[in-house]
Amino acid sequence: MRPAKGSLELVCPAGTPAALDAAVAAGADTVYCGFNDETNARNFPGLNFSRVELGESIARAHARGCNVLVAINTFPRAGNVGLWHSAIADAEAAGADAVILADIGLLAHAREKHPDLRLHLSVQAAAANPDAIQFYVKQFDVERVVLPRVVTVEEIAAIHREIACETEVFVFGGLCVMAEGRCLLSSYATGKSPNMHGACSPAGAISYTEEGPNFVSRLGDFTINRVKKGEPAAYPTLCKGRFMIDGKASHVFEDPASLDASQLLPGLKAAGVKALKIEGRQRSRAYADAVVKAFRAAVDSLDRGLEIRAGALAALTEGGATTGGAYRKTWR
């Protein structure tokens, strides 16, 4: 089974069975995906796996030595937790190598009813320090934690000295600037909650209008950005929008940049990180193919002591801009 001993595990997104095959072919060690309902945090129309598709996809991935993780990482709706419970049972039956969970009640359920199932803690649980991580390890035997995008490389190294599980970190794709799983901004504007319904700034709540020379994007009742016609406009994710403070317009929360931590891989590996995660189950097959190949090359370079090529993925990032995010303290 991949990855090779001592190598960082490359964990890649798959929004469809075809994307899963593409990721496996492009060099993923592990693929993560979700069911086509509100049990996962990328609940977009036309995306994700039916029960049958998941079983068949896992079999194909396993045949090629690739692991499959199933994200069941929204917070179950009160009075209807059964939908989430059956997702866990179905993932286990389909042969998933682990499920990725965020909700404390769901973790307790999984540990009690599925004692042999490997549990990963989703980034949606926002466990940002050793005490919080060890809580999940001790109480629910979580074997891996996906770290929030709010910690620096130095903090990751310090975390590793105190925890008894593996870590996985995001290295490429969308960048949440808020603590994940603890952000109600999209819900405040649209009525659809990322935590409960599984989609942030959902397409159904977005409208674009032309106003004179301008192009205006709105999310729910609120203007997120206004650009001159012909200027590149990023997807109107709420926290990447432009707003006004004291009459001055700016990207108050974050510039529309994507996370690219490829240059930080040596530091992340030295810090004790086990796995690298690429965001983007909602992205196209071509995107996934290019990103996975680039990171495969980066990880292989690292293993052979070679330099990691910079800027290989600039064309695939939001507005062509990238950031090291919180991994570098100056970002704060």
């Binding site: 009160a78 005490d131 109600l184 203007t223 707003f243 006004m244 108050v252």
Partner: protein, 306 residues
């Protein structure tokens, strides 16, 4: 549960109020405010804590003399070693309930009675049961829950002897970040922020490019610009089995706000009239209760009579 009298409680001051304003506020709470429980302590930014230590001890003492139950609130986003240490020290030192606002505090408090704040994700009866198993005695539910979910959780909570509380007045906490937006807006770094957040007693307004009132910034926290106003929803919340309503401190006359909520909760004040009175108290700031009604949280909607 609906026949019991609903409690009124005061949440922690989320803003960086100068010490004199902060101390005067708690003196008034102790002497005049009709609330049974007061949460106190820094939730948003650990850099604010050292300046508060002396005032905090005095305020706690005064509140207890005033007959209030005092719950010490802990930090919402715990990353630094000194922040972790503070959470564990509070858990060890404070004889009463400590409010967990992060799983770090749940870890520190497990095995003894504690309170769960609105920034810990309790979305369903399964999580409530797990937290009750660790010792949770009172849970303030996440602000985005609709009434249908609240009713299910409140019923489960009653069976477990856990009190359910709702964030019912004030700018709604929507997000926390590793980044300090107050510092960013002023062109400063978080590490050398000059405490610019102290300039905005109710947070810094963030409007859309079209001038719509939208959000507000409070250090690392992003809040709604609207004030939660649950006055008209009180009968429905009682029927759902909610045990307590939480008021979040602002620079307006909070004693008057508390008296208004108490009067409506006791059936001594007409809802529509109270709504007008509240508007006047908050200087006609926009109001919201959309989360309760499963519509965008920013909206205000009157419940249709069943």
């Amino acid at each position: 549960m609906s026949t019991n009298q609903m409690k009124l409680v005061l949440g922690p001051v989320l803003f960086n109020w100068p010490n004199d304003i902060w101390s005067d506020f708690y003196a008034r709470v102790a002497d005049e405010m009709p609330v049974e429980r007061v949460y106190i302590g820094e939730v948003v930014c650990s850099k604010r804590e050292p300046f508060r230590e002396q005032a905090m001890g005095d305020a706690v003492e005064r509140l207890q003399r005033g007959g209030k139950e005092v719950v010490v609130s802990s930090l919402a986003l715990v990353t630094l070693p000194r922040e972790r240490h503070k959470v564990f020290a509070t858990a060890q030192d404070w004889p009463g309930l400590v409010e967990a606002n992060d799983v770090t505090a749940v870890a520190a408090l497990a095995g003894r009675p504690f309170a769960v704040g609105p920034l810990v994700n309790v979305y369903n009866e399964g999580t409530l049961k797990a937290l009750a198993g660790f010792g949770a005695k009172t849970v303030c539910l996440p602000p985005e829950l609709p009434l249908t979910s609240i009713a299910v959780i409140a019923t489960a909570a009653a069976g477990l002897g856990v009190e359910t509380e709702l964030f019912a007045f004030g700018r709604v906490p929507l997000a926390v970040s590793a980044r300090c937006y107050h510092a960013r807006i002023h062109g400063l770094h978080k590490d050398s922020c000059q405490f610019v957040c102290a300039q905005d007693l109710d947070g810094l307004n963030v409007d859309t490019l079209d001038g719509e009132k939208f959000l507000s910034v409070n250090g690392i926290q992003t809040m709604s610009q609207t004030y939660a106003d649950f006055l008209a929803d009180i009968p429905a919340l009682k029927a759902a089995g909610v045990d307590a309503l939480r008021l979040s401190p602002h620079s307006c006359d909070m004693v008057a706000v508390a008296k208004l909520y108490r009067a409506v909760m006791d059936g001594a004040h007409d809802g529509a009239e109270a709504a007008e009175a509240l508007k006047a108290l908050i200087g006609n700031a926009p109001i919201s209760n959309g989360f309760l009604h499963a519509v965008p949280g920013a909206r205000f909607q009157l419940r249709t009579q069943a």
